[in-house]
């Protein structure tokens, strides 16, 4: 009963958390709508929110979503590639001082190049398909992810290593049973940043040398002064980006129950083990 009550309470507080940003958005949209009508702003300069909404209903399912589909596939492919590249790089950086001294500075230097300017060259190299855009997406996303992973993998207190060594642990055991779990919060931070960057990377890469994708659609509509549909596309893109971010966040919560032991999950555990006293319900102390 108390568990039920506290769960309701936490649900309420979550609604309270959502109410504030929701209120702000509504107020902003209302101001925007009023300003467009009162100042008689042309739709190709700034369309009213209601117009954007109408456009969403008209061209959303038929025009925008098919293009989003293309972009999302590039995003996910590039993101996946970035994750694999980062995993390899961070292990190399962690264990090889030669690599750390020889290659890491070059990777950092490469990040000062605005990679998007490479898009036409990549099209020449890899052809008129989605591969150049997947490459750009991966290049944009891997860097913060690698840095976050290396930082996390190095954040281990040396006493833990001594303790594992005293148990005669192998280097592989020290990596997988010690370094990796310690690094998880940092790695997930990197995964979230990389998720948003991957969406941006895929979209912008479609501005050059592409014939489909939501970035291509936005570029076309901008040229045609179809600003209303540009905003509709941006809205769809924003929702897709938030969904990807939220998905990574969900995986984060599920993979680190010792940090994110939600009351509902703790309640589940307690019911599996009837002897567990109330105090055993895991809640991290702040």
């Amino acid at each position: 009963m108390t568990a039920q009550k506290s769960r309701n309470a936490s649900l309420l507080s979550h609604l309270g958390d959502a109410a504030l940003p929701f209120g702000i958005v509504v107020a902003l949209l209302a101001t925007w709508e009023a300003a467009v009508h009162l100042l008689k702003i042309q739709p190709f300069v700034l369309p009213a929110p209601t117009e954007i909404f109408k456009e969403l209903l008209i061209s959303g399912p038929t025009v925008i979503l098919p293009q989003l589909h293309v972009t999302l596939i590039e995003t996910l492919a590039g993101y996946l590639a970035a994750v694999i590249i980062s995993a390899i790089l961070s292990v190399l950086i962690l264990y090889s001082s030669t690599f750390r001294r020889g290659v890491l500075p070059l990777i950092v230097a490469s990040q000062t190049i605005p990679i998007i300017t490479m898009a036409p060259v990549l099209v020449i190299w890899f052809g008129y398909n989605s591969l150049p855009r997947i490459i750009i997406t991966a290049i944009v996303a891997f860097f913060p992810l690698t840095i976050a992973a290396v930082t996390g993998l190095k954040s281990l207190e040396p006493q833990f290593i001594d303790f594992f060594r005293s148990l005669n642990a192998t280097p592989a055991q020290i990596f997988f049973k010690l370094r990796l779990p310690v690094a998880l919060p940092s790695i997930f931070g990197g995964l979230k940043v990389a998720a948003t960057l991957a969406v941006i990377g895929a979209t912008i890469s479609e501005w050059v040398g592409a014939s489909q994708g939501i970035g291509y659609l936005i570029a076309q509509d901008t040229a045609l002064l179809n600003t209303t549909r540009v905003f509709a596309s941006l809205t769809v893109l924003g929702v897709a980006g938030m969904a990807l971010f939220g998905l990574v966040g969900l995986i984060e919560r599920l993979s680190m129950p010792w940090i994110y032991a939600r009351p509902s999950m703790a309640w589940l555990r307690a019911s599996q083990n009837p002897r567990a006293p109330a105090a055993a319900v895991a809640r991290p102390r702040q």
Partner: protein, 262 residues
């Protein structure tokens, strides 16, 4: 003696510095530990006690000297003794049950049996019902008991305890003393304990080694002549007070202290 488990002979250790060369931390330590004995090392902070444990555990190579376990040299070879370090070092991402079976897990032992054995011991260690909890929800005393259970489940013939109760309040600490003594007797453990607390050392031990300030040597060894089965009330006996006087005199650096009392 055929009962000798751990034999430390003329051990020296130190650490290298750029300006002062090799700074000695352990300066000629001898120690012999018999099967099922409990001895304590007491000494001032920073004298080199943890360094000595790191050498015994094989984490640190000594400058010179021998460490033999059951007659075999173990210098520089980790994995032969169970070592509970100064901090509990429970892994925050593992439940208590998963934490305490770490020793067998890293050694590649069959986990089903290890988990069953651990689960059966949780009650004796005051952790019953907490097997699926994370360390963050445990009190300080419970964390220490979990760390001790993990140490004992490593199944080594000698257990090193580096100030296991240093961070606990006096009341919890007193309870833990009685409990630890019970555990040591019941599980037939051979233990060395590091402490700053003379009462703790005397109450728990068969022998107390009193260490000098750095570099560490033993200023003297006080054999404790309290009954094998001792309750908390032995701390009130004249015998206990005598032992405490001996230990404190040695800690102060009073060389004739031991002879004067005998």
């Amino acid at each position: 003696m055929d009962g000798v488990r751990l034999q430390i002979s003329n051990l020296h250790s130190g650490y290298a510095t750029p300006d002062r060369g090799l700074v000695p931390t352990v300066d000629g330590v001898d120690l012999a530990l018999n099967r099922n004995e409990f001895v304590s090392i007491i000494g001032p902070s920073g004298c080199g006690k943890s360094t000595l444990f790191n050498v015994i555990a094989g984490l640190l190579s000594p400058t010179s000297g021998e460490v033999a376990l059951d007659g075999k040299a173990i210098v520089g070879r980790p994995g032969h003794v169970a070592y509970m370090m100064q901090r509990d070092l429970l892994l925050p991402w593992r439940t208590i049950l998963d934490n305490v079976v770490l020793g067998p897990e890293l050694a590649g032992k069959p986990m089903e049996a290890a988990r069953n054995r651990a689960a059966a011991l949780l009650r004796r260690f005051g952790l019953e019902g907490y097997e699926n909890s994370y360390p963050s929800s445990l009190s300080g005393g419970m964390r220490q008991r979990a760390a001790l259970l993990r140490t004992i489940l490593c199944d080594r013939s000698v257990v090193l305890l580096d100030e296991p109760f240093g961070a606990l309040d006096a009341l919890t600490r007193a309870t833990m003393h009685e409990w630890l003594l019970g555990i040591q007797r019941e599980f037939q453990q051979t233990m060395i304990l590091i402490t700053h607390d003379p009462d703790e050392a005397i109450y728990l031990s068969d022998r107390v080694y009193v260490a000098t300030p750095r570099p560490m040597r033993f200023a003297g060894i006080v054999p404790i002549e309290l009954p094998y089965d001792r309750g908390r009330d032995v701390t009130m006996t004249p015998q206990f007070a005598d032992h405490k006087r001996q230990v404190l005199a040695l800690l102060r650096g009073d060389k004739g202290a031991l002879d004067a009392l005998h």
